[in-house]
Amino acid sequence: MATHTLEFERPLLELERQIEELKRVAGETAVDVSKEIVPLERKLAELRQEIYRSLTPMQRVQVARHPKRPYTLDYLRTVFTDFVELHGDRLYRDDPAIVGGWARLDGASVMVIGHQKGRDTKENLRRNFGMAHPEGYRKALRLMRLAEKFGAPVVTLVDTPGAYPGLGAEERGQAEAIARNLLEMSGLRTPIVTAVIGEGGSGGALAVGLADRVIMLENSVYSVISPEGCAAILWKDASQRERAAEALKLTAEDLLDLGVIDEIVPEPPGGAHADPEAAAQALEESLRRHVRQLRKLKIEKLLARREEKYLSMGALSEK
């Protein structure tokens, strides 16, 4: 447990330990300790709120990468029902870094596709830490086409450090696979809603993230490059990641300001990993609302709006 505690969460751990200790003593001696516990718990809640209110961008990155943070398969259990997983790109292999299949939201069928990180080393090796190969993006596209064919909306959940930069990935056309998805998603004749639930790692995130609505969990991040990568390139020093995280404007709030996302989904105090149920509830409410709104649009209008949305992105002057 202690290994999963982030540096800035240490003060919380201390209070939690005190409360645990009191409860243990109370259990053993049958002494009423509620008088002592209640103020401690209040203090814990306040402290947690205070810490999470003033997270630095790099601390948010750490929360977004938290090993206990809910992943796609967790939300498939909590937000969706009736999930049937589908595998493979029908071309090369199944990429476990991306999962997908039919599920129900609000009782109706949707196609859910998301990056999947591993919970332990063994699973992470299999899932490649959520970094997909081309076959992962091609599986995603295959499932989107399936959704289009049967008139179901697509919901994608983004949580990846990025597209995998390896030999096989390059040989099999990593760039082509991402480029293809962007092209096809531009004209996919069914609603697409994307939720960034953890790390939005550059092209590997966008490859399943070109959508009619893009929402972000409060403590998730979305960036063109990791803070470490940016610092290494700009200042030849990966330890300058705080500075880079600040400069890159990668928090949900920043992205809302920049007009890149449509909504921030609030997380419970202490982040989604502190209360996964509450996080799932908030995500479900938002996804339902957006899917419901988009379903009402005529397909031509939906596509025209999708196009307008992306054409408006950027910051220019023209004198």
């Binding site: 390059e170 990593q174 531009s186 063109v224 220019l316 023209e318």
Partner: protein
């Protein structure tokens, strides 16, 4: 005596000095690849391809424009677009200023319309000298506008890419240019207007993962490095050296990712022939 004078040769004193042909030092150039040394003019005459080993040197956007379009037919578009530094990213305005001094004011991509072998074309060319050909809002917008023009006027689109990827200094807005350009290219393809993508050294990151790999036909210059991740990043990830020739244009053809490797000297002709095929025109010889 006068007769003798006819034979007599007036002897000039022979100088022992040899007249040295003065070739200024900057007339010579060396190939970065094979070390071949030759006079600059021969490199220039060969379109900056090494006369010895065929290594394709990087050339400017202007040189590609001169190479590809009919003389005097180029009309620059959107030349006034400038980046607005949306993140107030440290040193970005200074870096932009430096890039303008180095590569000219027209950003990492120039766009315009012209004629190629008499045919109207819309052409965009990236310039690696401008911040590594990185794609920010200006590059994305120029591509989007030009592609829209092609779709609306039914004019074939040609894009010559050279880029290290998305521009970090504009953060996630740079990333979104991948989506922006894709949305327009999707529309172009729906309209059935030809798009030829030409990849030059290097084409990686956000540019290769969007419009550069979306061409109806994709050509690459010999030896050009093309991929998603740059060779350095991959080397770091896998912790070993990359195989010889990995991610070169030739490697990509072998793996089925691009249509053909085309030497610079044949780029114009090949592009013209492809356009005639895709626009349902007669070959050049048969045309009037």
């Amino acid at each position: 005596m006068a007769r003798m004078a006819w034979f007599k040769k007036e002897r000039k004193p022979r100088t022992t000095e040899r007249v040295r042909l003065e070739i200024p030092a900057d007339a010579w150039e060396k190939c970065d690849e094979c070390g071949h040394i030759d006079i600059k003019e021969r490199f220039v005459a060969a379109l900056n391809v090494c006369p010895n080993c065929g290594y394709h040197r990087r050339i400017s956007a202007q040189e590609y424009i001169d190479l590809l379009v009919d003389e005097g037919s180029w009309h620059e578009l959107d030349g006034k677009l400038r980046s607005a530094d949306p993140l107030s990213f440290e040193n970005y305005p200074q870096r932009l200023e430096l890039a303008r001094q180095k590569a000219g004011p027209l950003e990492a991509l120039r766009s315009g319309y012209a004629r190629l072998d008499g045919m109207p074309v819309d052409l965009a060319v990236m310039d690696f000298a401008f911040m590594g050909g990185s794609m920010g809002s200006v590059v994305g917008e120029k591509i989007a506008r030009l592609t829209r023009r092609s779709a609306e006027k039914d004019i074939p689109l040609i894009i010559v890419s050279a880029s290290g990827g998305a521009r970090m200094q504009e953060g996630v807005l740079s990333l979104m240019q991948m989506a922006k350009t894709s949305v327009e290219i999707a529309r172009l393809q729906q309209e059935g207007v030809p798009f030829i993508s030409i990849l030059t050294n290097p084409t990686t990151g956000g540019v290769s993962a969007s419009f550069a790999m979306q061409g109806d036909v994709i050509l690459a210059e010999p030896g050009a490095v093309v991929g998603f991740a740059g060779p350095r990043v991959i080397k770091q990830t896998i912790g070993q050296d990359l195989p010889e020739g990995f991610q070169t244009a030739e490697f990509l053809v072998e793996h089925g990712m691009v249509d053909a490797v085309v030497p610079r000297s044949e780029l114009r002709d090949t592009t013209a022939r492809l356009l005639r095929h895709m626009a349902g025109r007669q070959p050049a010889e048969a045309a009037d």
